[in-house]
Amino acid sequence: MLLQVSAATMAEGASLPPAGASACSGCHAANTAGTLVPSLLGRNPVDIEAAMRDFRNGSRPATVMDRIAKGFTDDEVKAIAAWYGAIKP
């Protein structure tokens, strides 16, 4: 997410956030202790994509993420996951 990206990371050529990515950090902060709402920085994009897919199809228990995941296409999720995965925590 924009604000968790250090100036150094931006200078190293991190790309602009793809559609939807910047809204995630409203809840998914970089520095959350514990796993209640986990940080997305540096996570394996495959894991983020799988989680979003499972939220969307209802196979992963959710409070709010099922409702949010249904708002994103596979391509959008792929781009968001890749973007977060590329940012060093």
Binding site: Q4, V5, S22, G26, C27, A29, V37, F72
Partner: protein, 413 residues
């Protein structure tokens, strides 16, 4: 040169970056987020934040209902701008008094002028005078609105604590649109929680200018379960619209009755914060029409409006939405200054409400630009389930708290 807090000094000419100047008016969830996002995306831009609070402190509204109910301290709601200054954002703690859209200059209260290539207005809300009739600044010292957090929050809390047993609390809820659609109902819930514990014979009357409200079924089911007989909601059709208030007499009149209150919380009708009309970006509704992709005003060039002040289609007026809009707006501004097309945007909102400290409910939405408006993405979003075990409600309450920590860390940390 590091631009620190510029409370007393004009910006020297050499400090104006050649790459462009972005001025943001309003240091809340929208404006502070936008200033930081612009600076992070393009460090070469000169970013100035104009914030009216002379104490250089932001007092957040989300969770202020817990302060009112005596379950939280106001200090937990307060944030400062040191980290923005450390990000090389020039922060000026004065109200903006004028905007010249032709010459692209903002004038602040001491006469200093801030030229801009792009201006972001995030002024939040102001109250429409005399709506309800009889309500204004003087009345607010007796019947607080507490719809801008700070001294009003503490005033309402003190009044509730001092209320005699068996008293009546009256809350009035305005017509749409207004800041924080579920807010009056969360407030009723948490005040009921306070009353049930501390003043069990008290009653709460909620006079509404509407016939429906956000998460209504969830709230009403929870009220019946947690606070039976305590909260009476009077809808518009049942005569809930307040036609006059008398703050001295502590009475609130509707078409059907005059109600005497021991404590009265009037949530007045609202409009965009005053600088919006001054800048010419507010329409006759009092709110600011914007482009759904860039948040650029449709009424004035090179001015963007975000947060509560904006007409943001299906997005509600919430802190979460303001923060999301701010980041999209920042990306659009940076692209525009670089001569690039605006990025495609998708936005999210999630509004949490606490019906009790351990009982949370939420409404979420995902939005995109279509037909010139911000619309809900079909099939996404929605509310918490109508029936859910206590563990689910407790989980959402915990997530609400986690959200507040995350978002305030992002904006001010």
């Amino acid at each position: 040169m590091a631009a620190g807090l510029t409370a007393g000094l004009p910006l020297p000419a050499f400090a104006r970056g050649a790459a462009g100047q972005v001025v943001v008016v309003g240091g809340g969830f929208g404006g502070a987020t936008c200033a930081r996002a612009v600076k992070r995306l393009e460090p070469g831009l000169t970013v100035t934040l104009v914030e009216a609070d002379p104490a250089a402190t932001y007092t957040a509204c989300p969770f202020s209902n817990e302060v009112i109910a005596g379950a939280r301290g106001l200090g937990e709601q307060q944030f400062r701008y040191d980290k923005l200054a450390a990000d090389d954002i020039a922060v000026c703690f004065l109200p903006a008094l004028a905007v010249d859209p032709q010459h692209q200059v903002v004038t602040v209260a001491d006469g200093r002028k801030f030229p801009y290539d792009r201006l972001v207005l995030a002024p939040g809300i102001d109250f429409r005078g005399g709506d309800p009739p009889g309500y204004g600044e003087a009345a607010a010292t007796l019947m607080p609105h507490a719809w801008k957090a700070g001294p009003q929050t503490l005033l309402l809390r003190r009044q509730l604590q001092a209320m005699p047993e068996g008293g009546t609390v009256v809350i009035t809820a305005p017509e749409n649109p207004y800041r924080c659609p579920p807010g009056p109902y969360e407030r009723a819930s948490l005040i009921a929680h306070f009353l049930k514990t501390n003043k069990p014979r008290a009653k709460l009357l909620l006079l509404d200018a509407k016939d429906t409200f956000s998460k209504q079924k969830l709230f009403q089911n929870a009220w019946a379960a947690l606070y039976p007989g305590l909260i009476e909601w009077v809808s518009l059709s049942q005569g809930g619209k307040v036609t006059a208030v008398d703050a001295q007499a502590m009475t609130l009149a509707t078409d059907f009755a005059t109600h005497k209150a021991d404590v009265a919380n009037v949530i007045p009708s609202q409009k965009a914060g005053g600088i919006a009309a001054i800048a010419g970006v507010a329409d006759k509704t009092g709110w600011c029409p914007i482009d759904p992709v860039t948040f650029a005003s449709t009424l004035q060039p090179n001015i963007h409006v975000i947060g509560d002040a904006a007409v943001a289609g299906a997005m509600p007026k919430s802190a979460f939405a303001a923060n999301a809009q701010a980041k999209v707006c920042a990306a659009a501004i940076v692209a525009s200054l670089a001569g690039d097309p605006a990025p495609t945007a998708k936005l999210i909102n999630t509004c949490y409400s606490l019906v009790a400290p351990d009982y949370g409910i939420s409404v979420a939405g995902v939005y995109h630009a279509a037909d010139g408006k911000l619309l809900d993405v079909e099939g996404a979003g929605g509310t918490s389930p109508i029936d859910a075990p206590p563990e689910r409600r407790a989980a959402e309450a915990a997530e609400a708290k986690a959200w507040f920590r995350a978002i305030t860390a992002e904006v001010f940390g």
